[in-house]
């Protein structure tokens, strides 16, 4: 990482505002299941702001690491239904970061197209290993 500029160490107060927004979305999720997401990199938040928000939300029961086009970290905060999703490029730079208010972040689910491709691959794999099986 580069040296944090003067701005990155400043708390702008945005963390508190985002916390309020998350609460409203979480109440909506609890009420009728509606999902939402907040882009943490599109807002003029400093590193200090994101750390403050991370501290306020804390870490919950689930933690996952993905290896897809670089690493991604996903964890549920101590408030169930509030997930933190941090995407990194292959060089480790954060390319996107968001808080998702959902029962399960989309990126953790298997896409049906990937499942279909995997089915083909698995059939080929078994066929290659046990040629006489069919």
């Amino acid at each position: 990482m580069h040296d944090a500029g003067p701005f990155e160490n400043v708390r702008t107060g945005l963390a508190r505002a985002v916390e309020q927004e998350i609460l409203q979305h979480l109440e909506a999720l609890a009420r009728d299941g509606s999902e939402a997401a907040i882009d943490l990199r599109g807002l003029p938040m400093s590193e200090a702001d994101r750390e403050e928000l991370d501290g306020a939300l804390g870490r919950g029961e689930v933690r996952a690491t993905l290896s897809a086009m670089g690493e991604s970290e996903v964890w549920e905060t101590r408030f169930n239904g509030v997930w933190w999703v941090r995407h990194k490029g292959t060089d480790g730079q954060v390319i996107a970061e968001q808080v998702e208010i959902t029962l399960l972040p989309e990126i953790l689910k298997t896409d049906p197209a990937d499942a279909r491709a995997a089915a083909v691959r698995m059939r080929e794999h078994i066929a290659l290993r046990d040629p006489d099986r069919d």
Binding site: H2, G5, P6, F7, E35, A36, A37, I38, D39, R41, G42, P44, L66, A68, M69, G70, S72, V85, H87, G89, T90, D91, Q93, V94, I95, A96, E97, Q98, E100, E106, I107, D111, A113, D114, R116, A117, V120
Partner: protein
């Protein structure tokens, strides 16, 4: 791969062939959503749309340019992310990157034009020479002007990448010896998108192409033909030093107390308030920094005539054409004219006195 798995020629198919999962596409969608300031939930829609989208045929023409624009795109910091753009497009002609040379290269361009008539996108970097029939910049025996007209005729849209193709750029700067003009001066019957910058931010080039492929239409454009998602705000409006401007705290020179404190660079000639680009948010080299963060004012490189705006260190309120000689001459002429007017008044008075004397 079975046909039922994926449609041929789509981005999804191209990715699956490389063993790239839909999770990567979803991640890329989130990245693009952030980049384009779309709602974060749009990432999923972008990923779905991209998976089913046909790869866009692209013909890239390089005219009076320095190759900085293509360097910007291909040397960007997060290679895995930026490389995704090459999965969205089929780059059918690019002189610097293509393997083919000579007549085979030109044939690739003509083949792509014939195969995707009316559907291909032409990317241009560099301005177009028009003086003396455009002879100052030629390739393969043809002037840039001819090649542009020929290629643009059956194109879906034109993407001017860089300030040279968008606004004329440095070749267009005074005295403009080659008669350089922007692409939009030549191609007037097709949509032209200007992705300006010297060079443009790589994420902005990729993001604009991704927008075209994802949504199958042009992004909303500002009055200079630039995509609003990236050129909607001025550098100044998104600058982290903006609070210092509002407080009236300015660096007066590059080595004073204000400069060390990271105050606003307006008085050092920063063109941020009149420059529209994504530098202050996207930054450069994978989000590392941008000129103002490294202590230098914005040059305004994504604006027309940035080279001729009176100097990089001249502040915005300062006149660009000021010549003390003109003012001095005005003062001298004023003094002479004033004295002359007074002399005329004296003469009139004298005459009046004389006439009064006669009547007595």
């Amino acid at each position: 791969m079975d046909d039922w798995v994926m449609e041929q020629g789509t981005v999804g198919e191209a990715l699956a062939r490389q063993g790239v999962s839909r999770r990567s596409l979803l991640k890329y969608g989130s990245y693009l959503a952030t980049l384009m300031a779309l709602p974060p939930t749009a990432g999923r829609a972008i990923a779905q749309s991209l998976a089913g989208a046909k790869r866009q045929s692209v013909i890239w023409l390089s005219f009076q340019e320095c190759t900085g624009c293509i360097e910007s795109l291909t040397r960007s910091f997060s290679p895995s992310v930026e490389e995704m753009i090459f999965n969205l497009i089929s780059l059918d002609y690019q002189e610097t990157l293509q393997a083919a040379a000579g007549e085979a290269a030109e044939k690739a361009r003509l083949d792509a034009m014939a195969a995707n008539k009316g559907k291909y996108v032409v990317v241009v970097d560099g301005s177009v020479s028009t003086r003396d029939g455009g002879i100052y910049s030629c390739a393969a025996g043809k002037t840039n002007l001819e090649v542009l007209k020929e290629t643009a005729k059956d194109a879906l849209a034109i993407l001017s990448v860089g300030t040279c193709s968008s606004f004329g750029g440095i070749p267009h700067a005074h005295p403009n010896p080659t008669g350089a003009v922007p692409v939009s001066d030549i191609v007037t019957d097709k949509p032209v998108i200007n992705v300006s910058g010297c060079p443009p931010v790589p994420e902005v080039i990729a993001g604009t192409v991704a927008y075209l492929v994802t949504f199958g239409k042009l992004p909303p454009l500002d009055r200079l033909g630039r995509p609003k998602p990236f050129f909607g705000d001025s550098i100044h409006d998104r600058c982290y030093r903006r609070p210092f401007y509002d407080k009236g705290l300015f660096a007066k020179s590059f080595d004073d107390e204000g400069a060390r404190n990271g105050w606003c660079l307006y008085e050092c000639g920063c063109k941020g308030p009149v420059t529209y680009n994504a530098c202050a948010t996207t930054k450069w080299n994978g989000g590392t920094s941008f000129p103002i963060q490294s202590g230098h004012g914005c040059l305004g490189c994504s604006e027309p005539n940035f080279w001729d705006m009176g100097g990089f260190y001249k502040t915005l309120p300062q006149p660009t054409h000021h010549h003390g000689r003109d003012i001095g001459a005005a003062a001298a002429v004023g003094a002479i004219a004033g004295a002359g007017t007074a002399v005329l008044a004296r003469q009139r008075r004298q005459k009046a006195i004389e006439e009064e004397g006669k009547t007595k």
